[in-house]
């Protein structure tokens, strides 16, 4: 397992390091903590000892904090960093407890599977719950994701690529590790994970649709993808509790592969977003547009990333989602009743997620790169230097590689899985047997060829016939202006409306328009419900309570002496 993940990480780090050239203006500090973060993560994954694990974990978390607050002279960046810091520290404390319980359970700090005999009842549950909370915060599973969107939005782009690509995966990694220790996971855990996965998947993408900040939107998509991964993991857990090797393989294989894929295409997307911001100096989707003309390469990269993240063939996103689909259907085809309950609501949810993601990325791609520019910045944007395009190119290549030849990585996945569920090591089917990976390859190739062919055909026809250039046919309106375009707000309006019950969107548009409306607008924004409705009020209340407690120290020495006396009496009467 560590072997597998290290290879994965090493891969990503390689990319990560090239990206450093991207933001020259962020000085030494950035580079330094970039290095420390990677070092921390490396330590984390090779750690066989919980203390070491915690070291790596915290080094990673802290350097991530410093990376997020690179531009700490801006207020909102500071607030973001602060929220992130609190979240990650709470996670760390959960891990304290977790490893303490582990130590109590198997008597040593070395991370190893627990043997069922010595395991006391309740300890396993405690471990699972603590791990779920502790790692879930880091991974950004839905109710615990509060820190994630703004942190990703505020950090420099290649840092957000790193965070969303690798850092939150550390949460998944930890979850996988810990669940692999537990001897006999009850079926409910798997179902719980599945449910959480569905929740964060659907809600994540739903929130994403409502966003206008390019990077914030991508951040919410990270939550969505984490949801998909967790679904796979939950499926694998169910499989383990019911001794179904194929579910384990498909679920876990899908999850791990999706970890990998998400790292690739999310890094790709964040980098392209970074170069967009670099070029147009704004993250507001509604103020961009028409960039495909001025920065064609970047737009191509972003397109590939978008197709991949929507899980569309022939790119890598499809492969992992395909595996998870197969697994979920597999539970149905010949599985028991309970696990079926999991599958039946997970399948349409996954379909919904896919479709929503598609809608969302059509919106983003269309609004950012297509059409005509909506602001001066966007109009005067410029293509970014090759030092920024290079890494993207590599990522694009990787996406295609995995998408077209998933067989190549099947053995590595297999290795990881047999590390997770030892009983798979010898017996049990291989991944390649369960999933028609070779078919995916051939279909992908076929698809590409056919598209190429069609393109050629169209080209020839066009070459034959007359081709004129003209303005867009505005259905009778002549001289379309950029402001007439469909903005992302309007694009998402219908969908946001559908999810209004959870998103609580704040829409601004003038009510009761007169008969010839002089000038109207529609704009909606979606705040983070969990953060604004649940977490912050709690903190405010706590602060108020504590400030009230201050009354007790009001500087009067006689009272202080009285405290001593009272304490004395109380303790004397203790027993």
């Amino acid at each position: 397992m560590p072997v597998f993940l290290i290879s994965l990480l090493g891969n990503i780090y390689g990319l990560g390091y090239w990206k450093q050239t991207e933001h020259p203006q962020n000085g030494r500090k950035l580079r330094l903590f970039y290095g420390t973060m990677t070092a921390g993560m490396a330590l984390l994954v090779i750690a066989q000892n919980s203390i070491l694990f915690l070291f790596g974990w915290e080094i990673m978390a802290l350097s991530a904090f410093f990376l997020v607050t690179t531009e700490d002279n801006e207020k909102e960046v500071r607030e973001t960093g602060w929220i992130y810091l609190v979240a990650t520290h709470v996670a760390t404390l959960c891990l304290f407890a977790l490893f303490a319980v582990l130590h109590a359970a198997n008597g040593s700090f070395t991370l190893g599977p627990l043997n069922p005999e010595t395991l006391r009842p309740g300890a396993a549950t405690a471990i699972f719950v603590l791990a779920l909370v502790g790692f879930g915060i880091k991974a950004g599973i839905m109710p615990l994701h509060i820190w994630l969107p703004s942190a990703h939005a505020m950090a420099p782009s290649h840092v957000s690529a790193m965070m969303s690509g690798v850092l939150i995966k550390m949460g998944i990694y930890g979850l996988v590790r810990i669940t692999s220790f537990l001897p006999h996971p009850p079926r409910e855990w798997g179902i719980l994970l599945l449910g959480l996965g569905v929740a964060s998947g659907v809600l994540g993408v739903a929130f994403a649709i409502g966003q206008h900040d390019l990077k914030r939107l991508l951040a919410y998509h990270s939550i969505e993808n984490i949801g998909i991964i967790v679904m796979g993991l939950g499926l694998a857990l169910i499989g383990r509790s019911l001794d179904r090797a194929d579910w384990i393989i498909l679920g876990l294989g899908g999850a791990l592969l999706h970890v990998w894929n998400h790292a690739l295409f999310k890094a790709l997307l964040f980098l392209s977003a970074g170069s967009v911001i670099h070029a147009a100096h704004t993250r507001e989707i509604d103020r961009l547009g028409g960039l495909a003309k001025v920065m064609p390469r970047t737009s191509l990269c972003f397109l590939v990333g978008a197709v991949a993240i929507c899980g569309l063939p022939p790119l890598n996103g499809f492969v992992s989602e395909f595996l998870i689909y197969l697994g979920l259907f597999g539970t149905l085809v010949n599985g028991e009743g309970t696990s079926f309950a999991g599958a039946s609501f997970a399948v349409p949810a996954l379909a919904l997620i896919g479709a929503l993601a598609l809608a969302c990325f059509v919106k983003v791609y269309g609004a950012v790169f297509l059409g005509t520019a909506r602001s001066e910045h966007a109009r005067h944007a410029h293509e970014s230097p090759p030092s920024m395009l290079g890494p993207m190119g590599v990522l694009v290549a990787c996406c295609f590689l995995i998408g077209l030849a998933p067989l190549l990585i099947a053995p590595i996945l297999q290795e990881g899985m047999s590390a997770w569920a030892p009983n798979l090591k010898d017996a049990g089917p291989r991944l390649a047997m369960l999933a028609p990976l070779e078919w995916i390859t051939s279909m992908g190739l076929l698809l590409n060829l056919a598209v190429l062919l069609g393109g050629v055909v169209l080209w020839m026809r066009l070459g034959r016939g007359v081709v004129e250039e003209g303005v867009t046919w505005g259905c009778g309106y002549v001289a379309p202006t950029p402001r007439m375009q469909y903005t992302s707000s309007s694009f998402a309006q219908m969908l946001v409306g559908m999810f209004g019950w959870v998103l609580r969107p704040r829409t601004h548009h003038p009510k009761d328009l007169p008969l010839f409306p002089p000038e109207t607008y529609f704009h909606s924004e979606v705040p983070d419900v969990v953060l604004d409705v649940v977490v912050l009020p709690t903190f405010r209340f706590g602060a108020w309570l504590f400030s009230w407690c201050r009354v007790f120290q009001h500087g009067n020495i006689q009272t202080y002496l009285l405290y001593i006396f009272l304490a004395l009496i109380a303790l004397l009467l203790w027993r």
């Binding site: 120290q553 009272t559 002496l561």
Partner: protein
């Protein structure tokens, strides 16, 4: 000597009430000083074997508690030209007297329940010390004047000292003297601080000392 011991203790106790009830600082100082002297003398009676170190100890005690400290306090009083007349911060003289009485009574009852060693069962020493400690606390917590708090601290120490009389053997001479010395220096430093306080605020009431809070 026991018959002589108890009356002395009674006097010491009454001195507590005097300290609580008297309104002039000088009076309180005298009361405390007198109590110190009594304590010194008490030491002679508690201990059958009057060795040289007991004598010495008595001398030092009486010297410090009875004369040096009071003199010094009076001097500080004059230095800081504190007007006489103290009012209790909380309640009235009557109230604090009542509290003191209640406390003393409680001390009596409480010390009866204490598992004392045989030879101390019938001694008034333990209850007296408890009562004095209580009085000291009462003074510390109810009086506003810094100097009155010092006196309260002295009372407290007296009470503890009374208890210490029971086991002079346990505490070697050196330690006893060390304790007394500490007590003296403590009062000394406190007096200096009081001096500064009165310079700063033109009064020694601790009401001014409530800046630092939260």
């Amino acid at each position: 000597m026991v018959p002589l011991l108890d009356p002395l203790l009674i006097v010491a106790l009454t001195l507590n009430f005097v300290a609580l009830g008297v309104s002039r600082i000088r009076g309180v100082i005298n009361a405390v000083a007198l109590q110190g002297v009594l304590l010194g003398i008490l030491a002679l009676f508690v201990h059958p074997a009057i060795g040289t170190r007991v004598i010495l100890l008595v001398a030092v005690t009486v010297g410090l508690k009875g004369f040096v400290i009071p003199r010094y306090l009076v001097h500080a009083l004059r230095e800081a030209n504190i007007q006489e007349e103290v009012k209790p911060g909380v309640g009235s003289f009557m109230g604090s007297l009542l509290l003191g009485a209640v406390g003393t009574g409680l001390a009596m009852v409480f010390s009866d329940t204490l598992p004392l060693a045989e030879q101390h069962k019938h001694l008034l020493l333990v209850p007296a010390s408890l009562a004095t400690v209580w009085t000291g606390f009462l003074m510390l917590t109810t009086r506003k004047r810094a100097i009155m708090q010092v006196l309260g601290y002295l009372l407290l120490e007296n009470g503890i000292f009374m208890f210490g009389l029971l086991l002079l053997e346990a505490t070697p001479f050196l330690v006893e003297v060390g304790i007394l010395l500490d007590l003296f220096t403590g009062v000394f430093v406190m007096a200096i601080i009081i001096h500064h306080i009165s310079r700063e605020f033109a009064s020694t009431s601790t009401e001014h000392l409530t800046e630092l809070k939260g």
